[in-house]
Symmetry: C2
Subunit: 209 residues, 2 copies
Amino acid sequence: MVATKRLSTRGRAGRESGGSERRAELLAIAAELFATRGFLATTVREIADEAGILSGSLYHHFDSKESMAEEILRGFLEEQKQAYEQVLRENDDPREAIAELIRVSFRAMQRDRAAIAIFQNESQYLSQFDRFAFLRQSAHDFERLWTRVLQDGQRRGVFRTDLNVRLAYRFIRDMVWTTVHWYNPRGKLTANVIAEQYIQILCEGIVAQ
Amino acid sequence: MVATKRLSTRGRAGRESGGSERRAELLAIAAELFATRGFLATTVREIADEAGILSGSLYHHFDSKESMAEEILRGFLEEQKQAYEQVLRENDDPREAIAELIRVSFRAMQRDRAAIAIFQNESQYLSQFDRFAFLRQSAHDFERLWTRVLQDGQRRGVFRTDLNVRLAYRFIRDMVWTTVHWYNPRGKLTANVIAEQYIQILCEGIVAQ
DNA sequence: GTCTATATAATGATAGAC
DNA sequence: GTCTATCATTATATAGAC
């Protein structure tokens, strides 16, 4: 095998993406603060404090506070898109597909809790800036993906036909993602338990037979 | 009928509560801005602009930006508490009670959309201040009220007994209130339609029989 | 009840030394 | 990669005239 020489992305993290470990650490710190305090309520000084450096030093790694949020959100959305598409490839039955999509979402809650919270809480505010146009795009892509499964399920007699598909989608989406507001990664209620309970309520309802 | 003389709350709105019409107008303007742009992202200048006055003039009516948010939220929560308690007085059957609680919540969405959005979006941030301690208190009161109905329903065999009641409550609460993020008061989907669909999904699930 | 004018503090960001 | 030092801007809030 001939080792082809290629440019390494390492060594000159600078302000370009794809970066050093330090960069990743700083992003994780920022994500946690953005998620818990809110994007606007978090100051660059607080991020720097948490990282043990001064605010000015942050600008060696990032252009701006916004660019930090952008990188966090892009990373999460790309990952989530891949995960969802894999679910569709591996599940033909609509009911199983919906259940798996929910499970995959709750698995993301363990991995990317902070990013999900930021996506949930700050999308409306951030979307006003051109650089965050991808937020709307992703939301739209997700909606198409989920509603396709729901529609398919209706056609094949798996889901009730008197459902308004768009409404049902919003129902599921809100129910899944808002969990991030109270989900405790170290609590008794694991993401798995929550997922299974939600799938059951969604499919069968809360009323006894 | 003897007209008993009493102190009017009018005439000296000042900074005390219970106030002039102007005060109410200003609060409505602030509520709309807080709801759509976020509390932190809204400046007092913007509120004043929208009201056609200068920012300094706002402080004739209110102590601070926070006190505006406080008044908006207190008003909504008090009203909602009354509405919920009336539902419980008038509905003994747990399933009907839950359905009515949901309907009453969606009716609030028409009346107090802005306040609900603020309660949803800014509670976490505002709760850090002592003056907003009532937010946690109200959230706690609501949780107790709803879970009592759910538990009662389980005992009486109306709801499935394998439900985790606290989880089911959060499920319902999130599903109802997050609607405020996309609900359009002038859209085709009326609050009534949404409410009935949600009640159906919640009770019967989405899977066909 | 609103305006003029301004105090005061905090914020995001920059330039250059180390 | 971080620090020193600091700028420019913006925000909430105040005091007193009208």
